[in-house]
Amino acid sequence: MDTLATTLDAVCLASEMILESGGETYRAEDTVERMCQGLGIPKVDVLALPTGLMLTLTLEDDSSISRIVRVHSRSIDLGRMDQCNDISRRVASGQMSAEEALRALREIKRPRKEHRFLLIAASALSAASFTVMLGGSWLDFAVSFFCGALVQLVLPPLAQMRVPPVISSMFAGALTTLMALVGRMFFPAVTIEPIISGAIMPLLSGWAVTNAMRDTIRGDLVSGGARVIEAILSVMMLAAGIGLVLSAWGGIRV
């Protein structure tokens, strides 16, 4: 028999992890409701925001228990979100008890072995392929490859130093532009436009806009609006980074 504390822990952990890995807020709320249904909690009220989570479980004897969870860091980790989803689905269908779910969720939460090299390679290949897609030559491909690798090399340490994400996105824009301009200094045949546009594509938060729209449409106006602001801010900072470096690169011979 699951104790109430275990149930609450499992439910909170699951939805907290979904929010942390960039899931939509309605998904976090759905998870709580579905898990509680599976665990036999008669009534649950939950409000999820991108930055936190509040929930109240009401039991059969009309006693209730509440908890607030603050979500500090948000990044995108679709794999983790998928795993949480899977567990919550199993709990909802009664295949898993709260205690098993809690154990499984803690297992997921543990920082896994980061394949740093894989991520750097993925970032580089992504940036470089976008450059070719936007009409870059193979020389541009090479320069953009370095841009993508460098950005992925620099961003995680910045995140560890608790630099706000909007600032690091400005930094990434500046870095990309600088790399492209330096690249052209050495190889005059390099075209700047596809390199910068391609290399910033992985940084543009297309997912943020889509998630924001999904939240807004579901009626979660607060989290939808908050996410729109987050997306706009991050794009503007990225653009600022590009613009600052472009204008600083003497006399603009772009």
């Binding site: 993925a122 970032s123 910033i200 594509m201 543009l204 997912w207 729209m213 449409i217």
Partner: protein, 144 residues
């Protein structure tokens, strides 16, 4: 630039981006294919502003179908598939005009870029709503 190089690089880029987002391995090829299909539609429509809308609609519908077939959430597929459509060129050119002091062109390009993003958002919303309205295994209609 021949079209197949663009589509191929688009698929590779989307796949690499999906790896970056820690997408489950099984879903990555699907995501890349949908991305290429969507970008193909975008190219066919001549990279116009409305092209963003139609291409995203195709992507959204494909993703929802794949989500139903593979029993995963559509978000997994959409994140990788949508990324080639994000208007990076528009953003860069807007900044370039701002830096040059050509504000007329900057506003022009910026507005077109924003419209593109709005089209993407609208289409993704439509496809989601379309499919959540006709969900075959929906338990009960939840007021939202």
């Amino acid at each position: 630039m021949s079209w197949w190089i663009q589509l191929l690089s688009c698929a590779v880029a989307a796949a690499a981006f999906s790896v970056l987002m820690h997408q489950p391995w099984k879903t990555i090829p699907v995501s890349a294919l949908i991305a290429a299909a969507g970008y193909g539609v975008f190219l066919l429509l001549g990279k116009s502003t409305t092209g963003y809308f139609w291409a995203t609609l195709v992507i959204g519908i494909c993703c929802e179908i794949c989500a139903r077939v593979m029993k995963r959430t559509a978000t997994l597929f959409v994140t990788g598939a949508i990324i080639p459509l994000v208007p990076g060129v528009g953003l860069y050119n807007t900044m370039l005009y701002v830096v040059r002091g050509d504000y007329y062109q900057a506003v022009n390009t910026g507005a077109a870029t924003l419209l593109g993003i709005a089209g993407i958002a609208l289409a993704i919303t439509l496809s989601t709503v379309l499919f959540s309205a006709f969900h075959p295994r929906k338990k009960k209609a939840k007021p939202c």
